[in-house]
Amino acid sequence: MKNLLDEAISRPHIGTLEYQPKDFKPDVDVRWCAGCGGFSILSPVQRMMPDLGIPKEKIAFISGIGCSGRFPYYMDVYGFHGIHGRAIAIASGLKISRPDLSVWVATGDGDNMSIGGNHFIHGCRRNVDLNVIMFNNEVYSLTKGQYSPTSHKGQITKSSPLGALDEPFNPAALALGSGATFVARGFDKDRAHLQHLFKRAAEHKGFAFVEVYVNCNIFNDGAFDSFAKKDVREDKTVMLEHGKPLIFGKEKDKGVKLDGFKPTVVSLTDGSHSVADLLVHDEKDSTLAFILGNMTYNPEVPRPLGIFQSLERPSYDDSVQFQIDHEIETKGAGSISELLKGKESWEVK
């Protein structure tokens, strides 16, 4: 017998599932500043959604607090704007209780790495089937410009006039170290790549973490220019593609090679190395993922972008369902009157 919730959510979808991106745009103004990197996430998400073929009513976006926290209002699906840092915890409760939903989290570098750091690392290891997009602008924007856990050492902000003293988190490495099964990184200037990453995240069964470098043109403008600006981009970043060697440079003239465990840049034109010497990316190799993750702040190598790791492990929500099904299969569905009676009841006549 179906319960009321099952009944409410299992009605057949009426109409088409052939959505257009515009079907995901609600009738509200997007209130981010003009030029905000956030738009570069919103648009590929809306473009990617129709590809998933999931009914709109089965999609939920959960957010915390920050400029990124407004994201759910800009998606015409179910949305929940939570409290600072707790989006992953809220989303976990939703997904565990509602495995039928596609659950997304929009969060920021402060929201997710600072106040929500605990939920983030536990979300990673627990492997709840969530798709987490972290808007990393390396600053607290909504509170108007303080340094964040991803701000670089020495960064001048309103709360660090003499330069931030903390070392930043390396979000990809933190996610890998915490056991996330899917870890990826993109940046706002390459929307097509982001769209690809979001689709891969959606298809991944388990905790998918996508870090996106987003420019906050108000409080941290140009934070990523040193490697993301058009003229330097190809020389300063490297795309991780499964099964392909790590080649980069405007002229595709450089590559990354492993020297023991140490990634080093080699020239493909001076005759010393060929493509065959290069590191070939393997999404399924978690040891390699650590090495690649650690390239992030290493000035001697290009900044890696793409999918660091994509491993298959049972998701937490699936495992919960498995335990329930297995219990019911082996012991029979529980009888409430037996539960209430317990083993040591007695009759008063």
């Binding site: 939920a60 939570g82 209780s97 335990q323 019911i328 009841s345």
Partner: protein, 615 residues
């Protein structure tokens, strides 16, 4: 020797020993056997916060107290009639509560030089005559047990560990309680450990026979059966009752249950029970902290489950920000706070009622929510159903307060049938054309509920203030005023949906006692005893703390002198005084121990004698 059978109305037994002596187990068995054989029982486990405190120490004593009787037994007993003391320390810390003439069954092995020194005795109390006003029965339990199991080939460690069953056997004979329930329990518990099973059953029986044959036990005590209503009963602790209450509430609501929580004494049992209920389709998350506990529950509630979170004082403090979120998103949520001694880590295993302010007022912003409190272990079941009813009907978080006393203590519970319980089914909006997230039921003011998965009602909610009806983010001054007032009005209206208070005792009394929560038992017993003595005293007990029952004001109006006993520094008293502008008298016990009946009787006497002097 012919043994005389003496009939008693009630008696209090306390098993005390080291943490490793199995006193909790003996106590639980004794109470189950007693209750199932027709007497009323009330129990209180009293143990140190250390898991295995060093053996023999005063602070390491673990005890289990049971009161049994033919009449309704509301407390675990003020003074002890029979003390089972497995060592010197357990005698020392409990002797002050033993009635003159009371019986001490002492295990002599626990009174060797080492134990005496740890208990800080200069001489052996079993031998120096200092216990002459008690009925002292020293027994070398260890040797008796060893003798009994001689040649059985059972490992000496198992032999030594079985001595609590000897003590249990003695008390079964002494109070003429059946051994069968314990034998049955042993058979299931140690199905695959034949040696432990054999040892325990033989030793249990040896205890019974020893008492039967030994002249030190002159009388056997018995009770007229208590007058229970017809039905099926079991012994239940408050935590267990909460766990069952949640399961039943979800069945009555016909929606799934989700528990998001983090372990904390004395609330952890609830999580442990629930984690074993997978075959009932129940989901839970042992989260990384209390904040994730409550926010995951909010996520599940958003998804259409009956969601709950369980905790104790320090954990509730961590959940407070999220309570604000549940209030403004108007989602159903049950928060169970099993109070313990505070502040901070305080007395983690001991009860207190000092989170009332936190439950009533511990929020940012104007964030009213219903607060209810359970009066006894069995009442925890009903109050969990009530919390779920209010949460689902009014789309609101509800805090249920219990405490370490009733959470861990037990009493017989008449098991309800499903059709006796209220229907809690929520109404999911099924009309997309008519749907708006903050459209309200005109009567209850509950907002409409549509959950992800329902086509055509995709909407966004969250912590930002929302426009009335549409739920669109809105910072308009008049709208905020309106929404704050609506949220308040919704909670205020609950007062018309809860039972009126009943005045117990003598309504024409000069003194009214107002109680709440777990002190119900002690106050009820005290008032009953005073009434029997001819004192005119009245009593009301609050279970709904916010909003109060509608006739509370009327009742308070009627009495000049009002006593409010609570296990805190006067939190309810202050709330009532402010609300009804009327001075009241507090009786405030913050010792990590529940009230004794005598504490309250003493205070009633004191107040009434002073009144006489004044008049």
């Amino acid at each position: 020797m012919e043994k005389e059978i003496v009939y008693l109305d009630e008696i209090t037994v306390r098993f005390a020993g080291d943490s490793g002596d199995g006193m909790q187990l003996a106590g639980k068995q004794f109470s189950n056997a007693s209750a199932s054989s027709g007497v009323d029982v009330n129990t209180f486990p009293d143990f140190p916060s250390e898991i295995r405190a060093p053996e023999g120490t005063l602070y390491g004593v673990s005890a289990f107290q049971i009161k049994l009787g033919s009449n309704s037994v509301n407390t675990h007993g003020d003074m002890i009639d029979v003390l089972v003391a497995m060592n010197a320390s357990s005698l020392k810390v409990n002797i002050g509560n033993l009635k003159a003439g009371g019986m001490i069954i002492a295990s002599t092995k626990g009174f060797d030089a080492r134990n005496l020194k740890l208990a800080k005795y200069d001489s052996n109390p079993l031998e120096d005559g200092s216990l002459s006003k008690f009925n002292l029965i020293p027994l070398d339990i260890e040797s008796i047990v060893k003798e009994e199991l001689k040649g059985s080939g059972i490992h000496p460690k198992i032999v030594r560990k079985s001595k609590n069953f000897f003590a249990l056997g003695l008390t079964y004979w002494l109070f003429n309680r059946p051994m069968e329930p314990t034998v049955k329990w042993l058979n299931t518990k140690f199905k695959s450990k034949a040696d432990v099973l054999e040892a325990n059953i033989r030793v249990l029986t040896a205890g019974w026979n020893y008492a039967l044959k030994n002249d030190a036990f002159k009388n056997q005590y018995n009770f007229q059966p208590a007058s229970f209503e017809k039905g099926t009963y079991r012994n239940i602790s408050g935590n267990h009752a909460v766990a069952l209450g949640l399961v039943v509430a979800s069945k009555k609501a016909n929606i799934p249950l989700f528990l998001g929580t983090y372990p904390i004494t004395p609330a952890t049992d609830i999580l442990q029970y629930i984690s074993g209920y997978k075959k009932y389709g129940i989901r839970h998350l042992q989260a990384e902290d209390e904040i994730a506990g409550i926010t995951s529950a909010i996520g599940a509630s958003y998804g259409g489950s009956l969601a709950a979170t369980t905790t104790s004082g320090p954990g509730l403090s961590l959940k407070i920000e999220a309570l604000g979120l549940a209030v403004i998103t108007e989602l159903p949520l049950v928060i169970i706070n099993v109070q313990r001694g505070g502040p901070s880590t305080g007395l983690p295993t001991k009860p207190e009622q000092s989170d009332l302010y936190q439950a009533m007022y511990g929020r940012h912003g104007e964030a009213p929510l219903p607060v209810i409190a359970a009066a006894s272990a069995a009442d925890c079941f009903d109050m969990t159903i009530e919390a779920s009813r209010l949460a689902l009907k009014y789309m609101t978080p509800v805090i249920l307060l219990t405490d370490g006393y009733i959470a861990q203590g037990t009493e017989p519970w008449k098991i309800p049938t499903m059709d006796e319980l209220p229907d809690l089914a929520p109404k999911f909006c099924d009309d997309p054309k008519n749907f708006a997230p903050y459209k309200r039921d005109p009567k209850t003011l509950a907002r409409m509920w549509a959950v992800p998965g329902m086509q055509g009602m995709e909407h966004r909610i969250g912590g930002l203030e929302k426009q009335d009806i549409t739920g669109v983010v809105n910072q308009d001054p008049d709208n905020h005023q309106k929404m704050v007032e609506l949220r308040q009005e919704k909670i205020d209206r609950i007062t018309n949906d809860i039972p009126k208070l009943e005045v117990m005792g003598n309504p024409e009394a000069e003194l009214l006692v107002i109680g709440w929560g777990s002190s119900y038992g002690a106050i009820k017993s005290a008032v009953d005893e005073k009434l029997k003595e001819g004192t005119k005293v009245a009593f009301v007990h609050l279970k709904h703390m916010n909003p109060f029952p509608s006739n509370l004001g009327e009742i308070v109006e009627k009495y000049d002198t009002i006593l409010v006993p609570e296990m805190n520094m006067g939190q309810l008293k202050n709330i009532l005084q402010a609300r009804f502008i009327k001075p009241m008298i507090g009786l405030n016990k913050v010792q990590g121990q529940p009230f004794k009946t005598s504490d309250i009787k003493f205070k009633i006497d004191e107040i009434l004698s002073q009144k006489e002097v004044v008049q």
